[in-house]
């Protein structure tokens, strides 16, 4: 049985002899990105001139297409092909898995006359130019028989049921514990639909080389995209070569493929030439998944000393009629605070809205906006400092299942944050600090996010120049994967960073699960470490067995790797000289990581504490974040710069969730009101103020052989709650319906007589 104890022996990442691990190394692909020369999927140069496809979205949310008139679209100059469900090429029925081990089934586009959500792609126009195709797309005329869309989440809470296969989890007797508690909080919070708003919309460039389909697309996970496309087209999986080299943000929204990929492939096949298809910014809002809205009830029952007796968090949320995604906003709370009586669960209602799906820190991002504010309310009722309240409820072991924590430095994060931020200057009574126009307040919140490890492989090649090439079916969605893989390779083989090449995002490379759930660096990196160690062994054996090598006759285990030189004590040669002589074609090995079978014996998370100072204009209800600090414990940090960027990026996400971001459903039409980036308000520079993230020293030896954990999602867990709590401290108003926009805050300010 594989065990986390197998990871105990020393390895080059732990030894970190050249100090590359953790170093704030610049982005591997940074120069390409800042010079605009990184070819994103839509910009890939195909071997011959491409045609351009533009999709048309449904104008209703539920019903059928009853009439199709494409004559004018077809007659538009430059238009090559116009497809609707009536004339689209045949595709395998939805869900088909001709190959039983495919990681995704068929996902046909333009499948039928049925409309499942507003904006669903219902036609494709391919033209000689993007302009011609766009003009043609405007000329496609469809008529519909619309059903009344069932889209009103708040009006549907009564019909929400437990997600299939899930039950509420109760420990002890929550109701008894709650009712017998002298101090209680029972409040409900609401969060809106959020859109991912990646800088790069979903896009694909596809062509065929003989029978083989070459598909460049923007996707977080390579294998399911490759398999899903092959299944849809009815091709053997090896006949689809899927590439995703540069990705302009994913955030969970590109964990699945969309119709751009399928339609580009179908059109490339039909036209016999490369085809590019991209979603427009407007189409992204409805055409791809979103974070669903939630209603969250938190009940806390405490003793007068602050210890929790009873804790409950129930979440209501929604997903698409045909879907089964649940925003598990209550889950994280199961591992957070001690309380003998606990009740958590979810209720799900299916609606005629576009697909709900994961978005950066699914669950935590929404859930902390409720629980961490409830804790703030409890602290106030108790007359206790919010930091102290959390420390008093710090559990010894996982409060739900009693498992030991692999590593839990939450209290250290909170204490360190309080000290660095100057938390002692916070006045517990709200509304007392004024600076000019602004009422100023401070708030804090806990961050927590699970840590995961998935199976992955990786290959390392050393060539005759002593250059190491890392190959992995991994993705870099802007997080820094290229960079940390290069660091791990350089450190493991003892070569300078400049002697490492990283090639990822390719279905023909050893598979890795991709980017998501903040498992990317730990998973891909651990496979890379394994490959690197295997290559060390192979090189050591090659050298010690090669009569021409000064290392000949030595023991492979004694070989050291540093500065591109291999040595056994004073006997040495360069890696390049060995390989060019003894293996001039290069040497390639694979490595692999698998989750340890006993890993679940530990409760494993990443942690942090957020501290925030805001100004509230009591006249207008405007809020400005003045400064914010997060202190995080997330295992060994591979790259201080890219990790910090992930964490601060997450914190900014939290600020957006607290103050500006959200989309509302027009229940008459089943559509979202904000359809571009001028209307959907993600934070801008001026919203952020002074922002910093600090990472504590940590190595979690139960996580993986490197002791690293994820940071990509931790930063936005709790961040928004710290903002909301700071608003309360500034002005004494609690808004429990996110985002906290001026209109909502103003109502509270007026009610308070401010």
């Amino acid at each position: 049985m594989s065990s986390v104890h197998d990871w105990t022996p020393n390895n080059p990442v732990k030894e970190n002899r050249s100090g590359l691990i953790g170093k704030p190394v610049d982005r591997y692909e940074g120069p390409l990105k800042v010079t605009g020369t990184a070819p994103y999927a839509y910009e890939v140069q195909p071997p011959s001139p491409p045609a351009y496809g533009v999709m048309v979205g449904a104008a209703i949310a539920a019903g059928r297409i009853t009439g199709v008139d494409i004559a004018e679209a077809e007659a538009t100059p430059g238009v090559l092909v116009v497809w609707t469900h009536l004339n689209a090429p045949p595709q395998a029925p939805r869900g088909t898995k001709a190959h039983p081990r495919s990681s995704a089934g068929s996902r046909p586009a333009l499948e039928s006359d049925r409309i499942f959500f507003f904006g669903q792609p219902v036609a494709l126009v391919v033209g000689e130019t993007l302009e011609a195709a766009t003009a043609g797309a405007h000329r496609v005329k469809l008529t519909y028989a619309a059903d009344t869309p069932d889209v009103d989440f708040r009006a549907s809470l009564d019909r929400a049921v437990s997600p299939s296969g899930e039950e509420d989890i109760e420990v002890g007797d929550f109701v008894r514990g709650f009712t017998s508690s002298p101090i209680q909080v029972d409040e409900t919070w609401e969060t809106p639909i959020q859109n991912h708003c990646q800088m790069e919309p979903c896009a694909s460039t596809v062509w065929f080389e003989g029978e083989k389909c070459i598909a460049h697309t923007s996707i977080q996970m390579v294998k399911p995209a490759q398999h899903g496309l092959a299944e849809t087209l009815g091709l053997p999986r090896d006949d689809v070569h899927l590439l995703t080299r540069y990705i302009g943000g994913g955030f969970g929204g590109k964990g699945q493929t969309y119709d751009d990929l399928i339609l580009a492939a179908l059109a490339a096949k039909a036209l016999g030439r490369p085809v590019k298809v991209a979603y427009t910014r407007q189409q992204m809002m409805h055409g791809t998944i979103h974070r669903p809205a939630t209603v969250m009830q938190v009940r806390l029952g405490a003793e007068k000393d602050g210890r929790l007796n009873a804790f409950s968090m129930m979440t209501w949320t929604h997903c698409h009629r045909e879907g089964n995604f649940t925003e598990h906003a209550s889950n994280f709370a199961r591992a957070l605070y001690a309380a003998p009586n606990r009740l958590t669960g979810h209720r799900l209602v299916k609606l005629d809205l576009p697909g709900a799906g994961p978005m950066r820190a699914p669950g935590e991002a929404s859930g902390t906006l409720a629980l961490e504010c409830a804790m703030d309310e409890l602290a106030e009722k108790l007359g206790l400092d919010p930091v102290e309240l959390r420390i008093r409820n710090e559990p010894e072991t996982d409060p739900e299942n009693g498992r030991p924590f692999s590593m839990r430095q939450l209290v250290r994060c909170l204490r360190e944050g309080a000290q660095q931020f100057g938390w002692d200057r916070r006045l517990p009574t709200p509304g007392l600090v004024r600076e000019g126009r602004w009422l100023v307040g401070m708030g804090m919140a806990t961050a927590i996010r699970g840590n995961f490890l998935l199976p992955a492989k990786c290959s390392f090649t050393v060539d005759a120049d002593g250059v190491i090439t890392v190959r992995q079916g991994m993705t870099d969605i802007g997080t820094g994967t290229y960079t940390v893989l290069a660091q791990i390779a350089a450190e493991t083989l003892g070569v300078p960073l400049g002697h490492v090449k990283v090639e990822i995002g390719d279905s023909e490379f050893p598979p890795a699960p991709g980017s998501g759930g903040q498992f990317g660096a730990a998973t891909a990196g651990s496979a890379a470490l394994a490959a690197g160690q295997n290559l060390r062994t192979a090189i050591a054996e090659l050298a010690t067995g090669d009569e021409a090598s000064p290392l000949f006759g030595g023991r492979p285990v004694d070989v050291t790797f540093q500065d591109g030189v291999i040595a056994i004590e004073n006997r040495s040669e360069t890696l390049a000289s060995l390989i060019s002589r003894a293996a001039p074609e290069g040497l390639t090995v694979e490595g692999e990581i698998k989750p340890a079978q006993d890993a679940r014996e530990w409760s494993q998370q990443t942690y942090g504490g957020h501290y925030c100072e805001v100004g509230v204009d009591p006249v207008t209800g405007e809020v400005r974040v003045r400064r914010m600090l997060g202190v995080f414990a997330a295992g060994r940090i591979l790259n201080a710069k890219t990790a910090r960027s992930q964490l601060t990026g997450g914190m900014i996400w939290g600020i957006g969730s607290a103050l500006t971001e959200g989309n509302a459903v027009d229940t008459r039409y089943g559509s979202l009101i904000n359809q571009d980036l001028a209307q959907y308000l993600a934070p801008v520079q001026a919203d952020i103020g002074d922002l910093d993230a600090i990472m504590l020293d940590e190595v979690d030896d139960k996580a993986n052989p490197m002791g690293v954990k994820g940071v990509g999602e931790l930063g936005n867990s709790g961040a928004g709650a710290a903002v909301a709590n700071a608003i309360y401290n500034a002005c004494g108003v609690r808004v429990r319906d996110y985002p906290i926009t001026p209109d909502k805050l103003l109502a509270g300010l007026i009610a308070k007589g401010l």
Partner: protein, 316 residues
């Protein structure tokens, strides 16, 4: 986008002549509004006449002590102009409260005045909208209309005018100079340039088809302090929920009506000795909110009272 033809006008006269003689012609300046609308086929001009390079981009003092700003001057240039900053700070503040630096660099004074509403239903071409498609209905009326007008709206349209610059110009009592298709020029007060929606919200100004804005003329600044305050959902790069421009005792409100709203009731009340809060309360008696935008009443009341007090504390 529909196919269109394009010409760069040689001078203002040629521009209006071309506009008068070419069916479906439109002027284009920075293009920051028009091109977005063309991409969505909300606007479908057959011919564009580029007026951004006409000789209309100067800022010069007028004989009466005012300032004449050419219509092709970029928003950034106006905001940064030393004379504007020294004597018309409300205008400078209003411009920098709008859009982003990139937009302001490209946007012209004329285009800014004629920018179209940001009503979300106007942009979503799958929805009825009287302004975009006359007599199809107004989706906002019973829709998500949090940012709708509180003054002068009708059941035909409840959208607001979203220019910040125009609010300051209205408070300053600016005039707009134009060249008509006939070759005649005329001068229009800001107050009459934009229309209320009535039954024809698609008609937004009193300009004739093909009439070119050539300049904006500011009278000498009124005595008293000046200030522009805009409330928005994020700190920058967002349309306003409400704004107020104060120039001494002249006050205009933004994002509350289909046009920049000169708060004449406020001015009258102030003149007869009312406090800023009392004065704005009189103005708001004429407001008719719709439910989701009710918050604009207290918001405008508080914002305007604070801004008037601050401006007059500073200067008057």
């Amino acid at each position: 986008m529909r196919a269109f033809t394009y010409e760069r006008a040689g001078d203002a006269k040629a521009a209006v002549k071309a506009a008068a003689s070419t069916p479906g012609a439109r002027f284009i300046a920075g293009g920051t509004n028009l091109l977005d609308l063309m991409k969505l086929e909300i606007e479908t001009p057959a011919h564009l006449i580029d007026v951004s390079r006409l000789n209309m981009a100067t800022i010069e003092a007028t004989l009466d002590g005012g300032l004449r700003i050419g219509a092709a001057t970029s928003n950034s240039t106006v905001a940064a102009d030393p004379q504007v900053r020294a004597r018309y700070p409300v205008l400078s503040q209003a411009i920098v409260a709008g859009g982003s630096p990139q937009l302001r660099n490209k946007a012209s004074v004329g285009g800014n005045l004629l920018q179209r509403t940001r009503c979300a239903y106007f942009y979503d071409t799958s929805k009825p909208c009287n302004k975009r498609a006359p007599r199809t209905g107004c989706s906002a009326l019973e829709g998500l209309n949090r940012n709708a007008a509180i003054f002068g709206a009708t059941d035909h349209c409840i959208a607001t005018h979203t220019s910040d610059m125009a609010v300051a110009l209205t408070a300053l009592g600016a005039n707009v100079e134009t060249l008509m298709p006939s070759g005649q020029s005329r001068t229009l007060p800001m107050l009459v340039l934009h229309r209320l929606p009535g039954e024809t919200p698609e008609i937004e100004t009193c300009l004739e088809t093909g009439e070119l804005i050539t300049a904006v003329v500011l009278p000498p600044p009124p005595p008293g302090g000046q200030i522009y305050r805009k409330v928005r959902d994020r700190a920058s790069y967002a349309g306003g929920l409400a704004s107020v421009a104060v120039a001494g005792r002249q006050v205009a409100l933004g994002m509350v009506a289909h046009k920049p709203w000169r708060a004449s009731a406020v001015e009258t009340a102030l003149a007869s000795g009312a406090s800023p809060a009392e004065a704005i309360a009189v103005e708001l008696e004429g407001a008719s909110p719709l439910g989701r935008n009710d918050f604009k009443l207290p918001l405008v009341a508080r914002l305007a009272a604070a801004a008037i007090s601050e401006a007059n504390g500073r200067g008057a």
